[in-house]
C-alpha cells in the first residue's frame, strides 16, 4: 500500500466515526494547549526572575579590604585599606572575562539642602560602578569623565534622597552639603525599589572616587590610592567562579602573600542569589515537564483506549482485508496511521489554541508570557509521538489477528 492509500483509508475510517475521533483528539488538544500555555507562562516568569536577579548584580564580585567579617576583633576598618586603584587596574588588564571594574570607598554623612537634612551613606565610585549595579540615570547627565578626573564636587543622588531633600522641588543643578562640603547635583538615579534583602536601594549618594578621597574621607594617613572595595562585573554569569579564583590568585600575587598566610582581602559573590536562580529554574522546568508529561499520557491513554475499541469493532473488516491480501504490516500501518492522525490533528488544534491562549494571557493578565517556536515544535513532535507510542499496541494487536477467527467473528 502506498502512503497515499494508507492516509486515505485512515481518514475514511476516522470520518466514519468523526464524533468519536473528535472526542479522542480532545484529550490531546487540551494537553498540548495546556503545555504551550504553561511553558510560555513559565518561561516568561523565568525571564522575569532572571531580569530581577541580574538587577541585583548576579554577575558581580566584591573585593573588600582587610579580612572582612571573618576575624574576631580587628583594628578599625580604616587602618586596613589594603586595596588600591592599581589593584583594580590590574584586574581589568589581566582577566579578560572581567567586563567592569570599579574601586570605591564609602562613608556616612549628614546631607543638607536648605532647611532639609537627611542622614545616609555616600560612596566614592569609579565610572563602571553604575553598570555593575545596574544603575540608570533618571534625570540629568550623571557624573561626567571630567568629574572623575578633576575630582569635581558633583553628586548623583538616589530617589529616596531626592524626595527627602527636595520633595517637589527641582533637584538638578542645586547644591547640597555632604558633611561640610558643598556638592552640585548632576543626576538623579532611576528608582530601583526594594532590594533582595528588604533594604531601600534608592537611599544612596554617589560622588567621584577622587573627590571622596580628598574631601570626605577624613584620614590622610592612608597609603596613596587606597580603597575599601573593588566591585567587578563579569561578562557571563557562568564565569563567576572562575573569575573569583583568578582574582584571588592575582591579589595574593600583588599583595605578596606567602602561601598559607591569611589574605588581606576577601572576595565574595552574591552566591545565594545565583543559587536561588538555579533552583528556581530547575523546579520550574520540573513542574512544567510533569504537566506536559501527565497531559500527554492522559491523551495517549484515550487514544489507546479508542483504538482498542476500534480494532475490536472492526475485526471482520480486518479479517476481510487480510483475506483479500493485506499483510500484517498493512493492517498495523493502517491502525497506527489512524492513531497518529488523531494525535497529530489534536496536536495541531491544541497548538493553535495554546498559541492564542498564551497571547490572550499575556494581553489580559499580569503574568509574563514568552512564546518560543521551540515550544510549539516540541508540542507538535510530542503529539505525533504520543500517537505512535499509544497507537502501537492496538495496531500490533490488529495485525496479529488470525484471519480465520477474524472472518468468523460475530458482531
Amino acid at each position: 500500500m502506498t502512503l497515499n492509500d494508507i492516509l486515505r483509508t485512515a481518514v475514511f475510517a476516522l470520518r466514519g466515526n468523526w464524533m468519536r475521533s473528535a472526542l479522542t483528539s480532545l484529550g490531546v488538544i487540551i494537553g498540548i494547549a495546556a503545555v504551550i500555555i504553561m511553558v510560555s507562562v513559565g518561561q516568561g516568569t523565568q525571564a522575569e526572575i532572571n531580569k530581577m536577579v541580574s538587577g541585583l548584580g548576579s554577575n558581580r564580585l566584591d573585593i573588600s579590604s582587610g579580612a572582612g567579617n571573618q576575624g574576631g576583633i580587628r583594628t578599625g576598618a580604616g587602618s586596613q585599606w589594603t586595596l588600591t586603584d592599581d589593584d583594580a587596574a590590574a584586574i581589568r588588564a589581566q582577566i579578560p572575562e572581567v567586563q567592569y571594574v570599579a574601586a570605591g570607598i564609602r562613608g556616612g554623612s549628614q546631607l543638607v539642602y536648605a532647611e532639609n537634612n537627611w542622614s545616609t551613606s555616600w560612596q566614592g565610585v569609579q565610572p563602571d560602578f553604575f553598570d555593575i549595579n545596574g544603575w540608570k540615570i533618571g534625570q540629568g547627565e550623571g557624573l561626567a569623565a571630567q568629574d572623575y578626573s578633576g575630582a569635581a564636587k558633583s553628586v548623583v543622588i538616589g530617589e529616596t534622597v531626592r524626595l527627602n531633600l527636595f520633595g517637589e522641588e527641582e533637584a538638578l543643578g542645586q547644591t547640597i552639603r555632604i558633611g561640610k562640603v558643598p556638592f552640585k547635583v548632576v543626576g538623579v538615579l532611576a528608582p530601583k525599589g526594594q532590594g533582595g534583602f528588604g533594604q531601600d536601594q534608592d537611599d544612596v549618594v554617589m560622588i567621584p572616587l577622587e573627590t571622596a578621597r580628598r574631601r570626605l574621607s577624613g584620614s590622610t594617613a592612608r597609603p596613596p590610592g587606597a580603597v575599601q572595595q573593588i566591585a567587578i562585573g563579569v561578562t557571563r554569569a557562568e564565569d563567576l567562579a572562575y573569575v573569583q579564583e583568578e582574582v584571588e590568585v592575582l591579589m595574593r600575587e600583588r599583595h605578596r602573600i606567602a602561601p598559607g598566610a591569611e589574605d588581606d582581602f576577601s572576595v565574595r559573590n552574591i552566591a545565594e542569589i545565583v543559587a536561588t536562580r538555579t533552583a528556581t529554574t530547575r523546579i520550574m522546568s520540573l513542574l512544567l515537564g510533569a504537566v506536559a508529561g501527565i497531559s500527554l499520557i492522559v491523551g495517549g491513554i484515550g487514544i489507546m483506549n479508542i483504538m482498542l475499541v476500534s480494532v475490536t469493532e472492526r475485526i471482520r473488516e480486518i479479517g476481510l482485508r487480510m483475506a483479500v491480501g493485506a499483510g500484517p504490516r498493512d493492517i498495523q500501518r493502517q491502525f497506527l496511521t489512524e492513531a497518529m492522525l488523531i494525535s497529530f490533528g489534536g496536536g495541531a488544534i491544541g497548538t493553535a489554541i495554546g498559541v492564542v491562549g498564551s497571547l490572550t494571557v499575556s494581553k489580559f493578565s499580569e503574568l509574563p508570557v514568552q512564546l518560543d517556536w521551540q515550544v510549539v515544535a516540541l508540542a507538535v513532535v510530542c503529539s505525533v509521538s504520543t500517537g505512535l507510542f499509544f497507537g502501537f499496541y492496538p495496531a500490533r494487536k490488529a495485525s496479529q489477528l488470525d484471519p480465520i477467527e477474524a472472518l468468523r467473528h460475530q458482531g
Binding site: N4, F12, L320, R321, A323, V324, P328, R329, I404
Partner: protein, 231 residues
C-alpha cells in the same frame, strides 16, 4: 516438468489441539488435485472438515502435516506476510455473508484489494467499473451495500474477488444467504467465470448447489472422497 495443477495437496492433514484431550483431526491425509479452469464443488456436512480444507486451500491457515502447492508454490515455507501476498495474487474469496464494508459504496468495495496490489490510483476506478460490469451491476456503483439486495451484494463481492484477476476463486456457501432463484443466478455467474479461465472451488453442504459444478468431492470425517457425478 510442468505442473499443470493449480491446487495440489499431498496427504494434507490438520490436527487441532494436538496431544491434548481436545485433539481433533479435522483433515486426514487429503490428496486433492485441481486443474486450471476446473469448476469443483466440495461437499460435506458441518464438522466434516470442509471449512478446514477451504482455509488451507485459501492460504489462511497452515497444515499440521502434508504439503500444499498453490499454483506450484509450496505454502508451508511462507510466513504470514508472504501468505498475504499469495492470497493477493492467486486467490479470490466469496463468503456466505458477503463481507462487504458497509460504509463504502459498491465501487470502493470492489477497488479495495487493488490498493494492496499497489495498482496505480488512476487505473483503479476503471478496473472496478469493468468488474462491476462483468457481474451485471454497472448501474449500482455508487450504492452502499445496505441499498442493495442480497444477490446484488454477492455480485459486488464476486466483482471484488475477481478484481486482481486471480487464477483461483474460493466460494464458501456463496448461495447460503440467498433465495434459490438468486442462488441460481450466482451459480450461472460462476460458470461464466469458469469459462473465462478461473478455477472455481465451491464449498457447500447443498447437493443441488454442488450439481452445478463439473466435479464433486465429498468430505466425511476429515477424509475426501471423489464422487461420480450423476448424469
Amino acid at each position: 516438468m510442468k505442473n499443470n495443477y493449480v491446487i495440489e495437496t499431498q496427504s494434507l492433514s490438520k490436527v487441532y489441539h494436538p496431544g491434548t484431550q481436545a485433539e481433533v483431526v479435522a483433515l486426514n491425509a487429503v490428496d486433492l488435485k485441481i486443474r486450471a479452469g476446473e469448476f469443483i464443488a466440495i461437499m460435506g456436512a458441518s464438522g466434516s472438515g470442509k471449512s478446514t480444507l477451504m482455509n488451507l486451500i485459501g492460504c489462511l491457515d497452515k497444515p499440521s502435516s502434508g504439503r500444499y502447492l498453490c499454483d506450484g508454490i509450496d505454502v508451508s515455507t511462507l510466513d504470514r506476510e508472504e501468505l498475504a501476498k499469495l492470497r493477493l495474487s492467486k486467490l479470490g474469496f466469496i463468503f456466505q455473508g458477503f463481507n462487504l464494508l458497509t460504509r463504502m459504496d459498491a465501487l470502493h468495495n470492489v477497488m479495495m484489494p487493488l490498493a494492496y496490489a499497489n495498482r496505480p490510483l488512476a487505473e483503479r476506478e476503471s478496473l472496478a467499473k469493468a468488474a462491476l460490469d462483468a457481474v451485471g451491476l454497472s448501474g449500482r456503483a455508487t450504492h452502499l451495500p445496505g441499498e442493495l439486495s442480497g444477490g446484488q451484494q454477492q455480485r459486488v463481492a464476486i466483482a471484488r474477488a475477481i478484481i486482481n484477476n486471480p487464477p483461483i476463486i474460493l466460494a464458501d456457501e456463496p448461495t447460503g444467504a440467498l433465495d434459490s432463484r438468486t442462488g441460481e443466478e450466482i451459480l450461472e455467474l460462476f460458470k461464466r467465470l469458469k469459462n473465462e479461465g478461473h478455477t472455481m472451488v465451491l464449498i457447500t453442504h447443498d447437493a443441488q448447489v454442488a450439481e452445478h459444478a463439473d466435479r464433486i468431492c465429498v468430505m466425511r470425517d476429515g477424509k475426501l472422497f471423489e464422487t461420480e457425478k450423476a448424469a
